[in-house]
């Protein structure tokens, strides 16, 4: 924990959340994984659920997520986190179980697992980091890569005829009756980060209330594999990703209405 040198007449406006460990992250400079981790940790702190939270980490840049959160955790095989989380939750119904997955893990190899967890109304929460590439393996095309986007496995730019269309996960899962909360937010600037935190909080509340499956899709940066600096990467999210992946609430069950001030778009 950072020792705080608070002067007599000062108050602390912001400090590191307790649920984050002190370990320095391996994420690239400007990678919004760190931001997403921080928001989840803040929510866990505020909801006072750390002691019963279990993380199911996935395969991607966030494969070591369990080093960064001070909660019980396990490592799922690529794409399998929602299934593993189902196993954990079903035998531990009082635990708060969340998966943390990237777009390769969730939307490609793991699409069946997340669709079925959602369709079963599994009381787990999924934090979905959408940065339109496979980060860990060096920048290949992902199901969420944009048309025309050049990646290491789509060097001429993604073409629909050859490689299909970007997959909109928040909308897809919202259509399933077991899904209680499916929203898309972004991490590209302070205002959007603040809104993202509110959504993450509501997602965990969904689970605490036993309302069904909750997912927050977070548009995120990958400066390294996009070949941009962090600031440019944030602008790319704002200018290229948001128009293709509209932010908004795609499914919010009625029981959650009382937790949000008003329905928002």
């Amino acid at each position: 924990m950072v020792a705080l040198a608070v002067a007599r007449d000062e108050e602390v406006v912001y400090r590191r959340p307790g649920t984050l460990t002190d370990v320095y992250t391996h994420y690239c400079p400007g990678c919004t994984h760190g931001t997403a981790h921080r928001l989840v940790a803040e929510v866990i702190d505020e909801l006072e659920i750390r002691e019963r939270t279990i993380l199911v980490a996935s395969v991607g840049c966030s494969v070591f997520a369990y080093n960064y959160f001070d909660v019980d955790a396990c490592e799922a095989a690529h794409g399998r986190a929602p299934a593993m989380a189902t196993g954990v939750k079903r035998v531990n119904p009082d635990a708060i179980v969340f998966t943390y997955q990237g777009d390769g893990d969730l939307a490609s190899i793991g699409i069946a697992e997340v669709i079925h967890a959602a369709t079963r109304g599994e009381n787990i929460t999924t934090i979905f980091i959408n940065n339109a590439v496979y980060g860990m393996t060096g920048g290949q095309m992902a199901p969420t890569s944009l048309l025309g986007q050049k990646t290491t496995s789509s060097p001429f730019g993604r073409e629909a005829k050859l490689a299909g269309y970007p997959l909109r996960v928040a909308e897809l899962l919202a259509g399933l009756p077991g899904t209680a909360y499916s929203v898309r937010r972004s991490l590209h600037d302070a205002r959007h980060v603040i809104q993202a935190k509110k959504a993450i909080r509501l997602a965990f509340i969904t689970q605490m209330e036993g309302l069904g499956f909750s997912i927050v899709e977070l548009l995120s940066t990958c400066p390294t594999n996009w070949g941009m600096d962090p600031g440019e990467a944030c602008e790319w999210v704002r200018d290229q990703m948001v128009p293709n992946y509209p932010l908004g609430d795609y499914k919010v069950v009625e029981a959650l209405e009382r937790y949000s001030k008003r329905g928002r778009k």
């Binding site: 019980d72 955790a73 399998r80 196993g87 079903r90 035998v91």
Partner: protein, 352 residues
């Protein structure tokens, strides 16, 4: 406990329930679907966890999660489904969480058919997944044995924190025989200290199979190998039939052993000193006892429902001194006792 007429698959399922199985995740596949169906009824009746997963891939990962959470958990499948689960087996073994898997083997390769076979022998005994490990593999030859070995599977899985297979050929899963079930055990209330239960006030538990440093991963492998050594020392199981003075030793497991047993009876009736050595633990393979038998045997006949898989393990133990012959049928065909006898008579006729 009195005997009841039970179908193999149902007996295995009920045995697991009686053994205190807390959670079952599975997927329909012939010829083991009755196991899933029985669990869907009984587990929910008892307030335990049952879920039909969307695929075998999902099922084994649900098992992994529940096992990591410290629950007594199992799955079941048949050959093509077991192939789908292999990734999960490797993760489970590397993470050293306990789990029981029932493989009711059918004809393959590929989609194959729904007839009984033993063609997964290599798959389950070599490692059942990528990397260096072996699950314990137990092969029943009767419905009663299927019950007993299923209960044992849970005990061994928890004793060693490892993966245990009950490998039954499809005929065992489908046949009906009188058998006795054990008393019902409750699900344990306490979770082990290593399990994921929510950290509470203790340091967090992390269950993973990822070790990026080569020396770290080697250390894990050393630990797993030492565990396998202990299992090899302590968990060999086999059965013997007329072996005291046998010159011709048949080696077989599961349904093939029942066929071989009939062949032995007939050979004995005709004055031949035949006997049956029946491995019950396919891994650890009963090498020591087999090596002992090789000292006095004139020949081994390995009977299998595959193209010849266990025969290689027998040959490796027995060596070049004693002939090791193979009699088998593939594709889900069950070899008949007269085929076995014929092979032995032919061998004898050629001067043995």
């Amino acid at each position: 406990m009195s005997k009841q007429l039970l179908k193999g698959n149902v007996a295995i399922a009920e045995a697991a329930v009686r053994a205190g199985c807390e959670a079952y995740f599975g997927y329909p596949i012939t010829p083991q679907t009755e196991l899933l169906e029985h669990m869907s009824q009984r587990m929910l009746e008892l307030g335990r966890v049952f879920l039909q997963a969307e695929s075998e891939v999902a099922a084994v990962n649900m098992v992994y999660g529940a096992a990591a959470a410290g629950a007594r958990v199992m799955t079941s499948s048949s050959s093509p489904g077991v192939s789908l689960m292999q990734e999960g087996f490797s993760y489970i073994a590397a993470s050293e969480v306990p789990a029981v898997v029932v493989d009711v083997m059918r004809g393959g390769p590929g989609l194959g058919n729904i007839q009984p076979s033993q063609a997964d022998y290599n798959q389950v005994t070599r490692s059942a997944g990528h990397g260096d490990f072996h699950p314990i593999v137990l092969a029943p030859a009767t419905v009663q044995e299927a019950i007993d070995l299923t209960v044992l599977a849970f005990d061994l899985a928890w004793q060693y924190r490892t993966l245990v297979f009950v490998a039954a050929d499809g005929a065992i899963g489908q046949m009906m025989e009188p058998a006795e079930l054990p008393a019902l055990r409750d699900v344990p209330v306490e979770r082990p200290s290593w399990a994921l239960t929510g950290a509470g006030q203790r340091p967090k538990n992390v269950i993973t199979s990822l070790y990026l440093g080569a020396d770290q991963l080697e250390a894990l492998n050393e630990r797993l190998q030492r565990k396998l050594d202990r299992i090899q020392d302590c968990e060999v199981r086999y059965d013997e039939y007329y072996l005291d003075d046998a010159d011709i030793i048949l080696v077989a497991f599961g349904t093939a052993a029942r066929v071989a047993q009939t062949a032995v009876k007939r050979l004995r009736q005709k004055g031949h000193a035949a006997g049956l050595f029946r491995p019950i633990s396919l891994w650890p393979f009963p090498e020591q006892r087999l090596a002992q038998l090789a000292v006095t045997a004139e020949a081994f006949f390995v009977i299998e429902m595959n193209a010849g898989q266990m025969v290689h393990d027998v040959r490796e133990v027995v060596g070049a001194a004693v002939p090791v012959k193979f009699v088998g049928r593939m594709g889900g065909v069950i070899p008949m006792p007269d085929e076995v006898e014929e092979a032995i008579y032919n061998w004898l006729a050629c001067g043995g």
